[in-house]
Symmetry: C2
DNA sequence: GTCTATATTTCGATAGAC
DNA sequence: GTCTATCGAAATATAGAC
């Protein structure tokens, strides 16, 4: 007689606990920074004993690395919004929409990324030099093609990309400041809609697309 | 017979040492965050024994508070570039120029500010609710007046301000990423000029000013 | 006002019972 | 796989001689 079959139960437990820890870590790292975050704080927020964190993630740095890596993957998915577009208005407009949606859904992740870059990218420097660099080169070429074809105003593609990143991520990274200036209330659905529309309106018109 | 007169010598020593400590603290807080910064690091960078820091600034938090407050004062000075302008093109153009210049000259200060806001502004929340809020309300009214007079395209003034902050501060806060994408080299004079011109070109055209 | 030595606290990480 | 107790390192802050 065989024991009752419970295949992969261990993996499920691991996957679930890792997800719980990562969600808590994302928030704590965003709100306290890497140095200010403590394993105790993350454990409390995850509802687990501190020792369990070390069981799933050997060190605080390894946990942080996973959080940053996961966020980077999300950024890259937004990139696809720009590809396969029929032209600059559709491509850049869709990219702004996608990045604004990410700022709204993953404000903690955006803050962790910003903090990591501000501190000199000690953990994800290799991503900057490889994946991000390659993506940027490709997108600069795409924008340059649109310009050469006379489909948009000639602008420096690199600085246009910086503007797209800056304006969209600002709504995540500076959400606290925006909330304070919004009477202490987070942006509601209509205000997020207005924000995205404002960014699209000014940027698209700024590069000759109405 | 009186002792030799040495008036205010004490104050001079204090002022000089405080300035040295603040300069070092600004850099360390920017590069390591509040939690990651240590009094030892700041002391080493300032070339002083750690105990001396505590002589001039009782706690790490008090030192940090001074750094953030000083930076806020610099932000406010750029505000004047927008006032007294003959119109929107001159006012907003000058504001962008001023903020880009600050991003270049005080990259550490900008990062400390960004980090402070990202962490929920635990130290400067009152500044956000008073000085910054008042300034913003005034500037929104100014932009609205320009719009009503038909001198620029109708846009949401609040979101235009966010765009100005985001785009200009991006060059300070994400300077490491920009440097990496620039072949590992910081922007030189010409590249800073091109950056400011790009921001001005797209934003001004985006609000109907060429 | 300066600086060495140290007190006190806190944190990351681990041991080991369950 | 879970969790209590604890070690050892590092940090803030202070005491006290100079």
């Amino acid at each position: 007689m065989q024991g009752s079959p419970r295949p992969l139960r261990r993996n499920e437990i691991r996957a679930q606990n890792e997800a719980t820890i990562l969600r808590a870590a994302e928030k704590v790292f965003a709100e306290a920074g890497f140095g200010g975050a403590t394993m105790q704080l993350i454990a409390d927020m995850a509802g687990l004993p501190k020792a369990n964190l070390h069981y799933y993630f050997a060190t605080k740095e390894e946990l942080y690395r996973r959080v940053v890596r996961d966020i980077f993957e999300i950024w890259l998915q937004a990139a696809e919004a720009m590809d396969g577009a029929s032209g600059p208005a559709e491509g850049i407009g869709a990219y702004i929409e996608a990045k604004m949606e990410i700022s709204r859904r993953y404000p903690y992740g955006s803050k962790v990324w910003a903090s990591e870059v501000m501190h000199g990218a000690p953990v994800i420097q290799d991503y900057l030099e490889t994946t991000l660099r390659d993506w940027t080169v490709g997108r600069v070429a795409l924008i340059r093609r649109w310009i050469d074809e006379g489909r948009m105003t000639p602008v420096d593609p690199q600085h246009l990309l910086y503007m797209l990143w800056a304006t969209t991520q600002h709504y995540a990274d500076f959400s606290h400041q925006i909330e304070t200036l919004n009477g202490g209330q987070p942006l509601n659905d209509a205000e997020w809609r207005a924000a995205a529309d404002s960014v699209k309106q000014i940027v698209l018109r700024g590069i000759g697309l109405d």
